[in-house]
């Protein structure tokens, strides 16, 4: 696990012979880091700035708005039906994230702590789906969805099942959770068994509360995935009824044409929720990614 405080003290313990000279080096390091940070956020600052301009400023390519036009957001929101798209995306994200958390926790626990025949085979199968580009599944999954739409009473196309059910389990989430579950000391399981707890109780009362960081990572990852999804919604929604926000923004970008300030207002509306969620969860999130990434 990447534990930043530990590495802090560690690097302090390492005295460098040329401590005096490092000062210039440190300044250079800070400058590079600050430039990197600025580049990371420039597109956001730019979007926010343009989104608050009036039409002449936006087309005249001003750098900052003379007076912020908050009305742009209202205009973009109403004109592009963002209210609907926003609500759609939240519904889609909630359904698929809930499904994913429930299903993946179960599968991850089975791989981490249980013995059953065919475990290695199923695990290899799971790993192999990781390399699969999404493009490979578009045609068959679209056909499957159309077929399910016709044979079941449930409407799939243009509706939530097509947008959420295929994403209710992901190999990545299962692997990440399994990694975390395996790091929980075996003694806990032994003592839980002595207390008479079975697998399910151990999972719910001990493993899940201990895996907060991993769960936050999985939730945020699947939330980002669902908020970001574009290709699949384009394929399976023909009407705006269930169109998610990324697709909504894309259609709005074409409709708004040269109205840069409205386009940017739309972009900010799309971006902001994720940024807010990220700021609240960033500590667990980076920790979770670091743990999963280290061991592949």
């Amino acid at each position: 696990m990447a534990n930043i405080p530990v590495t802090n003290s560690v690097s302090e313990k390492r005295p460098h012979p040329k401590t005096r000279h490092v000062d210039i080096g440190r300044i250079v390091i800070y400058i590079i880091l600050i430039i990197g940070g600025l580049i990371s956020i420039t597109p956001f600052l730019f979007s926010i700035s343009v989104s608050l301009m009036n039409l002449t400023e936006a087309t005249g390519r001003a750098i900052l708005p003379a007076s912020p036009q908050w009305g742009n957001y209202v205009e973009a929101w109403e004109e592009a039906n963002f209210g609907l798209y926003f609500w759609n995306s939240i519904k889609i994200a909630l359904i698929s994230v809930t499904g994913q958390v429930i299903f993946c926790i179960g599968a991850a626990y089975a791989f981490a702590r249980m013995q059953f025949p065919g475990k290695d085979f199923l695990f290899t199968l799971l790993l192999s789906t990781l390399i699969l580009p999404e493009a490979v599944t578009w045609v068959p999954n679209f056909i499957t969805i159309v077929w399910l739409d016709r044979i079941t009473p449930l409407q799939w196309i243009n509706n939530w099942p097509a947008l959420t059910i295929p994403f209710m389990a992901s190999a990545f989430s299962i692997l990440l959770l399994r990694q975390f579950f395996q790091q929980i000391p075996g003694e806990l399981w032994d003592s839980a068994q002595i207390d008479g707890a079975g697998h399910m109780r151990y999972l719910i009362q001990i493993v899940i509360p201990l895996s907060r960081a991993a769960l936050v990572t999985v939730i945020l990852f699947s939330f980002i995935g669902s908020w970001n999804s574009l290709a699949w919604p384009i394929l399976v929604t023909q009407t705006p009824d269930w169109r998610p926000i990324s697709y909504g923004l894309l259609t709005f970008l074409d409709e708004a044409g040269s109205l840069a300030h409205l386009r940017m207002a739309g972009a900010v509306i799309t971006i902001l929720p994720l940024i807010i969620v990220y700021f609240f969860t960033q500590k667990e999130f980076t920790e979770g990614i670091a743990t999963s990434g280290l061991k592949g």
């Binding site: 800070y30 493009a135 280290l294």
Partner: protein, 571 residues
């Protein structure tokens, strides 16, 4: 453990019945059941939408038609449309790879046999039967699939025609009709029969308690599956080539498929051969090794010459958009991955020092990764717009340069650098400027992600190594080169694989950043597939492209694993 207890060596049936519910055995049995129950929902979804689609794509790729779910059968037609006669070469080579895998599995099994002096030959019977049942299962799926897919249309027609039954009843009825087709029933029972025979034989022949019987059984199954795959693929490609010749003969044309297949295969074999000689050369003494390397070099030249001479001709009939898409994908990965890694490794080593505001920097760097791609790409579209007064153009004009076309520029960057007076050949023009913007977006997005993972990797390196190195007088660079890099290699390996696959997955930002003025020079393979499917509604063709993409990704993964197993240092 569970395997042994469930299929284990019970003595009496009554005893077993009790033991399933109580005691250690019972606990294990319940654990197995619970594990399967926990896995079931996730695997049902992953299987339906992640694994089954592979077989489905292969099936769909043999059909052609516009906006038709079950098109007309066209053999390898979609593949030859995509990559020309190279499709046949690919078919034969896949067959050879399958046969090679079979031989490989056989050799591995034979080594174990020799080592322990076992006699596992009777296990071949159940092994091959199970392998055959897999093949028969695929046959059944391919027979059943079109009929089953047709049910959807029938139900829709029936409900539109005013049928009174519910869709569930209709489904039952139409499924019954499909089931009544004798061929499908035969295929089904044949599959089940062979599988059952295989399982019974497994049970019969694994009663001698050879500890390695599972290993041998799986070896025989592997050999059987690979053999079957190899034989089927070579037979299928052969018939397809013959059909192509027959069609050409009727039209009074001549074909060169065989010549192309042979020359290209020979070229590849020579390349492989030269690589093997080159590798063996390093174990020899100096004169011998020089000679061997010279030989390897000349074989390499001959092989390359054969390939350069014949590959373009074989591929000539392919789809220009698809080739452009593949080339763009290559440009995209070569253009983005090294920069991503260099920058994020630098940022990570800086952040790893005793720096103030470490947390803030990490949050800032990571921000692009969590940003919705469509939103961020929307601002890139304005920043890098081709207009003279677009922000980036204003910056470069204020520095005294000419404004550039950026996202609207279809010319390659090397051509732009060389200027208009020097006309570069097409292959040397490099990625278009608009693709460069796409690459910049990719680098911008992934730097934070890579930095966080590099930071974790750096944190895992024990500090004593650095202490020892600085006592020995190793400078910062020496420490980085000889401690940090080798110990980071597992992280690097993971990130490389992730990044390469990521370039094949890239879609959203490219879809937003593409302009018609860029003339398709930003479209990577995924986008070409998407267009074939959504814009042209040629599902079969899109599926064929997807299968080709899958083959490429699988090949790259195998190569990556091979390289990693030699170079990655797991300290």
């Amino acid at each position: 453990m569970a395997t042994q207890t469930v299929t284990g060596q019970e003595t009496a049936v009554t005893q077993r019945r009790i033991s399933i519910l109580s005691g250690k055995r019972g606990r294990n049995f319940r654990e197995v059941v619970l594990a399967y129950l926990l896995l079931l929902p996730a695997f049902a979804i992953i299987f339906t939408f992640g694994i089954f689609p592979l077989a489905f794509s292969v099936y769909q790729s043999t059909l052609k038609g516009l906006n038709k779910i079950v098109g007309t059968y066209d053999g390898l037609g979609n593949y030859t449309k995509a990559i020309g006669n190279l499709a046949y070469v690919l078919g034969f080579w896949l067959a050879i790879i399958f046969l090679f895998l079979a031989v490989n599995a056989a050799i591995k099994g034979w080594r174990t046999v020799r080592k322990y002096g076992d006699k596992p030959w009777l296990l071949a019977l159940p092994g091959f039967s199970i392998a055959a049942s897999f093949g028969l299962l695929l046959r059944f799926i391919f027979l059943f699939l079109p009929e089953a897919l047709g049910i959807g249309d029938k139900i829709r027609a029936a409900t539109q025609g005013g049928a009174e039954e519910t869709s569930a009843e209709l489904f039952k009825q139409f499924l019954g009709e499909v089931w009544d087709i004798p061929l499908i029933q035969q295929a089904f029972w044949l599959t089940i029969g062979v599988l059952v025979i295989g399982l019974i034989l497994t049970y019969v022949f694994s009663r001698n308690h050879d500890p390695r019987r599972g290993e041998y059984l799986s070896a025989f199954i592997q050999i059987g599956v690979y053999l079957l795959g190899g034989i089927f693929l070579s037979w299928y490609t052969l018939t397809q080539v013959q059909a192509a010749y027959a069609a050409a003969f009727e039209d009074g044309e001549t074909l060169e498929i065989w010549a192309q297949v042979i020359t290209i295969s020979a070229g590849f074999v020579l390349l492989l051969f030269s690589w093997m000689i080159w590798r063996s050369a390093s174990h020899q003494d100096s004169t011998k090794s020089t000679l061997l390397r010279l030989a390897a070099g000349s074989i390499l030249i001959i092989g390359a010459w054969l390939l350069i001479g014949e590959l373009p001709a074989a591929a000539a009939d392919g789809d220009k958009d698809w080739y452009q898409g593949l080339l763009n994908t290559v440009y995209y990965s070569i253009g983005s991955i090294p920069f991503q890694f260099a920058i994020s490794l630098m940022l990570a080593t800086f952040l790893f020092q005793d720096i103030k505001g470490k947390g803030l920097f990490r949050v800032l760097f990571f921000l692009p990764y969590v940003t919705p791609a469509v939103g961020a790409a929307a601002s890139f579209r304005i920043l890098f717009s081709g207009r003279v007064d677009a922000p980036i153009n204003r910056i470069i004009t204020s520095l005294g340069f000419e404004p550039l076309g950026w996202l609207n520029e279809s010319a390659g960057i090397f051509q732009l650098i060389a200027g208009e007076s020097l006309k570069l050949p097409t292959w040397a023009t490099g990625p278009s400027l608009s693709l460069v913007v796409v690459i910049i977006f990719g680098v911008w997005t992934f730097i934070g992600f890579n930095t966080v993972i590099f930071l974790a990797g750096l944190g895992a390196i024990p500090n004593e190594l650095y202490e020892a190195a600085s006592i020995d007088g190793g400078g910062r660079w020496a420490q980085f080169r000889h401690i940090t890099l080798p110990l980071l290699s597992p992280t690097l390996y993971f990130l490389t694989l992730y990044a390469v696959i990521g370039t094949f997955k890239a879609f959203n930002h490219i879809y937003v950043l593409r302009t018609s003025a860029a003339l398709g020079t930003t479209d990577t393979a995924s986008l070409v597939i998407f267009d074939a499917m959504k814009r042209d509604t040629r599902y079969g063709y899109a599926a064929a492209l997807a299968v080709l993409l899958l083959i490429i990704v699988m090949g790259l993964t195998v190569i990556n694993n091979r390289v990693a197993s030699k170079r990655v240092f797991y300290g």
